[in-house]
């Protein structure tokens, strides 16, 4: 479980990137917090720099849109989903449970 930041430090419409071997992007979309892989499944762009519209993020490079709830792309040019990660909030702090680590445990 990775502590990210205080809920109060991630305003609506904003995103943070957790660096690492597989960077993760954490979003506040209308008060809901979501975490997905930061790297777009199409090529090489950081989704935390993308445009948030409802619970979809648009990739800043070629505009593929991903559903933050499922990681599924809504259309070209991305074909593969990005992984989603579980988010929990403890004492006002956002925590992410990376999906792959979960599987190992």
């Amino acid at each position: 479980m990775i502590p990210v930041c205080a809920v109060a430090d991630l305003p609506d419409g904003e995103a943070v990137r957790i660096p690492g071997e597989v960077p993760i992007a954490v979003f506040n979309a209308g008060g809901e917090i979501y975490a997905i892989d930061d790297t777009c499944s199409h090529q090489d762009a950081s989704l935390s720099e993308g445009w948030l519209e409802g619970c979809f993020v648009e990739c800043p490079l070629h505009a593929a849109s991903f559903d933050l709830r499922t990681g599924m792309p809504t259309g070209a040019p991305a074909k593969k989903p990005v992984r989603t990660h579980e988010v929990t909030i403890q004492d006002g702090v956002i925590h992410v449970v990376p999906q792959n680590q979960e599987a190992v445990v």
Partner: protein
């Protein structure tokens, strides 16, 4: 309309097929592509593919399942040689004739060669996968270094890739400031500084007088580049990045007006309502007259409009270009939207060019017309949206 032929099996051609199916066309689709390869993505050719971090499979624009779903007939490795719009017929280089009610022209372009360099080993242009494979092989064997002729987008990306591969690189550019025509002199200079930041030798205002070579006949191989001022730049690999020419020769005698691209109306429809043109080859009627774009997002987005008009039999929708394109050089991402070339005022609105991280806004008579960003995708996205929202539809 019961049958449609798509000529050109690259980005714009594939998107046209996808759009035909998305928009409900359930008739016969025939795709004709001169290259033997299934549709692949060109941008990585000068970047990750050339450095070896992206494999041939990663270039594919559609996998087998995607193409099966499109239920099209693919004629690959065959060229369309002529078009007769009245007879609805496309004649192919293997002698076959394809008859179709509608035609989508998506034949893109080819790299402009350096005059006089034909058949000289070591001299490359970069447009196709095969070009990239050949260039990569020569780069791997290079000992004397690389001269890149032309500091446009492709030249700059190849120079950057060669530096990543550890090769000495000289970039020769005829104009005094690279990219000035598109970005203006100040921003062009900021982008060009990336070359010198990373140890490439940039020679601006330098014309190429001749190439030197060794050997004869098929063994003739480049040894360097002579500039107008007499300087000799030794090189065993020369990459020519001096632009492209639209592939329109096959349309001679078709009656279609062609002038630096296939001329079409604001909805990509040609002089024949049953023939549309998309992508790099299409010179459509834009807000300021005929215009042709040579970038990925245009080739990706134009087919939706062209196909709608083709299926409707008339122009019911106009195409509005976002002007968006990107370039990756020296680990730096450049992004452009709108039409900066028409601006009379450029302001850096975020960051600083000296930090190689900024966003600049281009204005004409006080109105925002374009955005350029270096390593700043987030702010770029914001301004690009404002630009679109503020744009007066033509």
């Amino acid at each position: 309309m019961r049958s449609i032929a798509v000529v050109g099996a690259s980005l714009a051609g594939l998107r046209a097929v996808e759009e035909l199916r998305t928009q409900g066309f359930d008739g016969r689709i025939t795709v004709i592509g001169e290259e033997p390869h299934r549709p692949y993505d060109r941008p990585p050719l000068s970047k990750a593919y050339l450095t070896g971090t992206c494999a041939t499979e990663d270039l594919r624009l559609a996998d087998a399942a995607d193409t099966d779903e499109l239920a099209a007939e693919w004629h690959l490795g065959v060229r369309a040689d002529s078009l007769d719009p009245a007879a609805r017929s496309v004649r192919l280089s293997d002698g076959t004739e394809v008859v179709a009610d509608g035609i989508v022209i998506a034949t893109g372009g080819r790299a402009r060669p350096l005059p006089g360099a034909e058949g000289l080993a070591g001299v490359h242009t970069l447009r196709t996968l095969d070009d990239a494979v050949a260039l990569r092989a020569d780069l791997d064997a290079s000992t004397a270094g690389v001269v890149v002729i032309g500091a446009g987008w492709i030249g700059a990306e190849v120079a950057s890739t060669c530096r990543t591969l550890g090769l000495p690189v000289t970039v020769v550019e005829a104009s005094t400031t690279p990219l000035a025509r598109v970005l203006g002199a100040t921003m062009g200079a900021h982008c060009a500084a990336l070359h010198t930041d990373h140890g490439a030798d940039l020679r601006t205002g330098a014309g190429v007088a001749s190439l030197t070579s060794t050997g004869f006949g098929p063994w003739k191989r480049v040894t360097g580049v002579v500039l107008d001022d007499g300087t000799h730049l030794p090189a065993d690999v020369v990459v020519v990045g001096i632009g492209m020419r639209p592939n329109t020769e096959w349309l001679a005698g078709s009656g279609l007006p062609v002038d630096n691209g296939v001329l079409c109306d604001a909805g990509c429809v040609t002089a024949f309502p049953s023939v549309v043109a998309v992508g790099d080859v299409a010179r459509y009627h834009g807000p300021d007259g005929p215009v042709r774009h040579e970038h990925w997002s245009n080739a990706s987005e134009q087919p939706a409009v062209a196909v709608r008009n083709l299926l409707a039999g008339t122009t019911i929708q106009e195409y509005h270009s976002s002007g968006y394109f990107w370039s990756d050089q020296y680990g730096t991402r450049l992004q452009v939207a709108g039409h900066p070339a028409g601006a009379d005022e450029v302001t850096v609105v975020d960051g600083s060019p000296h930090d190689r991280r900024f966003v600049a806004e281009y204005r004409r008579a006080g109105t925002a017309v374009g955005v350029l960003a270096m390593n700043n995708p987030k702010q770029f996205g914001r301004l690009r949206r404002q630009l679109r929202a503020g744009a007066v539809p033509a």
